[in-house]
Symmetry: C2
Subunit: 768 residues, 2 copies
Amino acid sequence: MNHNYIKPDHWSIIEEGFDASRVKSSESLMSIGNGAMGQRANFEEHYSGDTFQGSYVAGVYYPDKTRVGWWKNGYPEYFAKVLNAPNWIGINVAVNGEQLDLAKCIAIENFRRELNMKEGWLSRSFTATLQNSVKVKVDTKRFLSLDIDALGAIEYKVTPLSNDCQIDFSPYLDNAITNEDSNWDDKFWDVLSINHDNEQAFIVSKTMKTDFYVCTSMQTQVSLNGAILNQDKTVNDSINQIAFTYNSKVSQGDTIVITKYGGYISDRNHDRNDLISVAKSTLEKASELGFDGLLEKQKQAWAKIWDMADITINGDVAAQQGIRFNIFHLNQTYLGTDHRLNIGPKGFTGEKYGGSTYWDTEAYCIQFYMATKDQNVAKSLLEYRYNHLDKAIENAEKLGFSNGAALYPMVTMNGEECHNEWEITFEEIHRNGAISFAIFNYYRYTGDYSYIPEKGLEVLIGIARFWQQRANFSASKQAHVILGVTGPNEYENNVNNNWYTNYIAKWCIDYALENISIVAREYGSDYTRIMNKVNLSKAEMQDWKTVADTMYFPYSEDENVYLQQDGFLDKALITVGDLPQSERPINQKWSWDRILRSPYIKQADILQGFYFFEDHFSTEELERHFDFYEPFTVHESSLSPCVHSIQAAKLNRMKQAYDFYLRTSRLDLDDYNHEVEEGLHITSMAGTWMSIVEGFGGMRLVDGTLSFEPKIPEQWESYSFKVNFRNQIIKVNACKTNTHFELEGQHDLDILVNGNTVTISPNNLVTV
Amino acid sequence: MNHNYIKPDHWSIIEEGFDASRVKSSESLMSIGNGAMGQRANFEEHYSGDTFQGSYVAGVYYPDKTRVGWWKNGYPEYFAKVLNAPNWIGINVAVNGEQLDLAKCIAIENFRRELNMKEGWLSRSFTATLQNSVKVKVDTKRFLSLDIDALGAIEYKVTPLSNDCQIDFSPYLDNAITNEDSNWDDKFWDVLSINHDNEQAFIVSKTMKTDFYVCTSMQTQVSLNGAILNQDKTVNDSINQIAFTYNSKVSQGDTIVITKYGGYISDRNHDRNDLISVAKSTLEKASELGFDGLLEKQKQAWAKIWDMADITINGDVAAQQGIRFNIFHLNQTYLGTDHRLNIGPKGFTGEKYGGSTYWDTEAYCIQFYMATKDQNVAKSLLEYRYNHLDKAIENAEKLGFSNGAALYPMVTMNGEECHNEWEITFEEIHRNGAISFAIFNYYRYTGDYSYIPEKGLEVLIGIARFWQQRANFSASKQAHVILGVTGPNEYENNVNNNWYTNYIAKWCIDYALENISIVAREYGSDYTRIMNKVNLSKAEMQDWKTVADTMYFPYSEDENVYLQQDGFLDKALITVGDLPQSERPINQKWSWDRILRSPYIKQADILQGFYFFEDHFSTEELERHFDFYEPFTVHESSLSPCVHSIQAAKLNRMKQAYDFYLRTSRLDLDDYNHEVEEGLHITSMAGTWMSIVEGFGGMRLVDGTLSFEPKIPEQWESYSFKVNFRNQIIKVNACKTNTHFELEGQHDLDILVNGNTVTISPNNLVTV
């Protein structure tokens, strides 16, 4: 971990000095995206060193044929992969005929990269001495426009330093791309046409099997010392590629610039026959605005996002940089403007895991989007699951369930299950619970009940049905048990009575029954419509209730704690602290059986339940379980430290809370898990946000009232955040001694601060 | 199941009438082998229908790159596959220029195939009307010689029935073969040379990665009405193939015959430089003997095998055919003449499962070979594992064990683990127990203790070390537990305290300690040698003893039975009888999670322990456990019915014992498991033998004395078998009313019959 090469900075991710071994890490860290597309921070010019080329279009995927060792009934036929899309950023550069390639230069000086999170752009500058001894200075800037989300822009400047020389720019589009994580090295794209028109070029290609049509396009312009050059170019095209080449004589000290606009137009948003014409007009619009004009709009758009979503931390630049890095990447990944999209675990920064939607969305991400965007964004995430309900019912049917029982997939792109490990795909069923919980959480936070009669109740019913069918009565325990599951702690597989799973299963049934009553009482026509659709009898509801009322929860009288699962106390209970560092991380050092029979916990499991249902337990109970389980927790999931940070703060363990905060916020920046080259951990970034707002800020909902219990790590002077609560914005600014509250809204709001009611009024600072 | 197309016959497997849908099943059932090589019963002439071509050379394998969905630390890099070898049997036939292809004929009449088990040959005859309306009669016979085990012979006769015509024979060798079960469609063979010399042809090729050099060869001769034709031939060779073509005019009613000798010479047995010359002399020897001469020797060799191994059953042809089918295939697969070989689960009849050695050898096969061959054959199987001890120690080290702990692989070809499912590879560790048990069993049966000080003790020590390290102390249970295992019942994965595993683990430790004492006391120099090698301290042995003495065994007071594993009684305990037939077999109908949480047992698990350690328990205990567990057993492993048949016989449940006997003996003939097309279940065939000898015959060892408790199913008039016991042969002939015993040997032998001592003398029939 901790490459420690990213410079501390409040607003930017900065790398200084070229190090080939860091290229893939920086490509991940400095990825850019605009919700509709994204790309790793690959160099524009050719690079022969070790690199992971990646550019992705939201929602364009490929059903890669499943690869397994031993087939099990019920496995999906394919794994929907986030698809590496044609490269539009490429600009090859030759200096006096020699290709510029940072892997082959004699010297590279003053190399600097910056991902400017405040304004949403990526820059790079360096001085390179090529093997032909010519020395040039290069400055590039690139961004993906928030304003025109099918578009990106690049400005690429070259200044000869040592002598006059010929600079050849070859901007290109390339469809000869593959996925790093392809299962069978299959081809994913078919090129349909390659065209060019003046300074524009277009490749129309379609994905195999899924038939997404995408037009990848570019428009280029070369200028010298600020004056546009209207020079001739050569055009080269092959079956997968089209390139323009501009040859220019450039005097020593003069600067030649190529501006390139490019991006993707797909049939997800446009008619297939219009792709080139839409691409054309998009490029023309970009060209009219110009690079600087587009960049100005980019700054404005990011300023608007930051105005709502920013968290400031004074006195701790590492912590400040960390939280902004997290908030920035979340907003690059998902903006809530397209209800067909979701929040992939690696966003647009890599390919690992595939799919776009995990339980991470409901368990970690919704709260962030709910508080930093309009509440319709959260609602759109809920509707995404509603739209997949039929597929979830089919998924459950494949596993032998019936009568409308729904099992949401572990990983999906379109509602169908993609994952193919039996212990996860078939057994990590707690994911269903998070989907019901998110419906509850949305209502709890927004107060908007309407979603439940409209759509949510059907989801709650499908999930309740699943749990009732999945539990069985144990004659031996005289209770309902849930056998053969994998809990949130994936370092246990096929266990019986995972407490978290049993707890959320019972809760899901109870919550469904409660809402059936409410809807029956208060939304009669919805109730009639839904009941006609789902065919739910009183007898069936009674069966649900029996399961919920007689659910078994493993408990140890001796330890006075709930047990993570049956048999947990049979393990050799050696704490993580007593585990030699040389054995860590265990997921890289140990065989799977050894991990499974160990007591080590990958991520919060019982504590995840205490997080969701904190108000069901006393603080003393939380403390007892935290003290029992955290010492066995290796936090080898990105989703672990955030929950622990929140709970440590709740327990007034500020040092521990702060350590967990740094670990979650700088997980990728400091590469705790030795894997940042593969991409970033996007979904856990929402957990980082929670660890400040819910952890240090202590934000909760108490009977519909927003409540805060602000605390501050001793390393910090102050911190501030904003939340959108029921269409008013509350700004919280916590200092060492007190906390200021401000309201941007129309009407007074009662909140709780450390348990006391405080009324805040629009534009009136309240200090507590 | 039960295609029911194999004719009942005492000595042969006969199919009448051509049915394309049965081709692959018959290819499996009528496979031929001679211990050194084997092949599926593919047609010699081209067949364009659905077929599974397979020919295999014992010990020639390929390390096929492992294919997994999600990699786990500790997985092997490759899976050693039984390798499909070049085809030497092919003889294409053209009739007036039209290819003979049973998939394309206008009519096929009088189709008949016979696998003659008594004499060890395969024949086929039919009358075909080709699309050109020519009608020919074809008669073929083929065998793999037991006498010259690198050699096979084919006689292929064609008689034109409708008119005179031209018959073209194109015998060929073909190296363009692939494995059906290849993971990545890799190429497995490199052709090195293709030669021919007069009527002989040779392809020398080598396996990739493993570098086995194999010369595949043929020699052909054509004769008409018994007179050899010395006609010209054409020779065609390509990069993978060489073919001769003989064109002959044949008058209506005349018979043209091609005789083809062929087979494999490999560098496993010969110098690489001599392969062609050895092949040449082998073919010449065959040619001198001629087809009939070779066949005569084949009959003699099989007569010798049958003289010792045959089991007769009077009054029940299906049962008789079944047992001979099992004994025949066991002898085709493994003859004990090459200590580097073992008994693959599919022998030479298919490719599924790969590897050559499973715990089946020790748990099921050794007893058969020990009783029907010289005891050195069983010893050779033990030595096979001794020779792999270092690899077993390496295998354990990969999983985190140390200090010489040995974990034998689940599947292997050369001692290295090949299998790649964590729940099997890492967790089905009970296999280690069977390897110790076989050492005990060998000594118990043969009385030959010398193997233990010579070699066996080192294996016992490595295995005891493994169990001691693998168990852990449960503070909660105040006992040693073994967590995270898969027992013999593979329909449970990653369970805690599988009774069978815990029981055999404790037994392995106790047995190792017992033998360390014996060797220390009685084999001083061996003791010193071994202790110097393994570095075993008194303290370590004390640690072993502590684990063995405090091993935990799950038990239910309520049910008065040992529990298959912790938590078994939490399941929905619905018996197999109450499971709809439409849900069976569950391994084809249910998703894996559903199987795992069900109570259904794939094969004997606790009952396997009761089988191994029958004398540790009372008959009443056996009965109670049989009555509890058998009703949950689906017998979806080929290894299940035999153990149940033995135990049902022990419990005097003859109807049940008989049903299980038919199921084990006719498993493949009647295709109970819908998979005979993939190949036969070779190792369970030894279980079939046990179900007669140990089941109905009631053969046991009681304090070193051979004991029988003969019983007879009501369907049978009598049955007989022979066993080699300590170099004398006892023949048992059981009738409805009494049992005859005969001794072929030198000195009187006391045996027990139904608990009473009976002395049998050489060549003196005793009736009890």
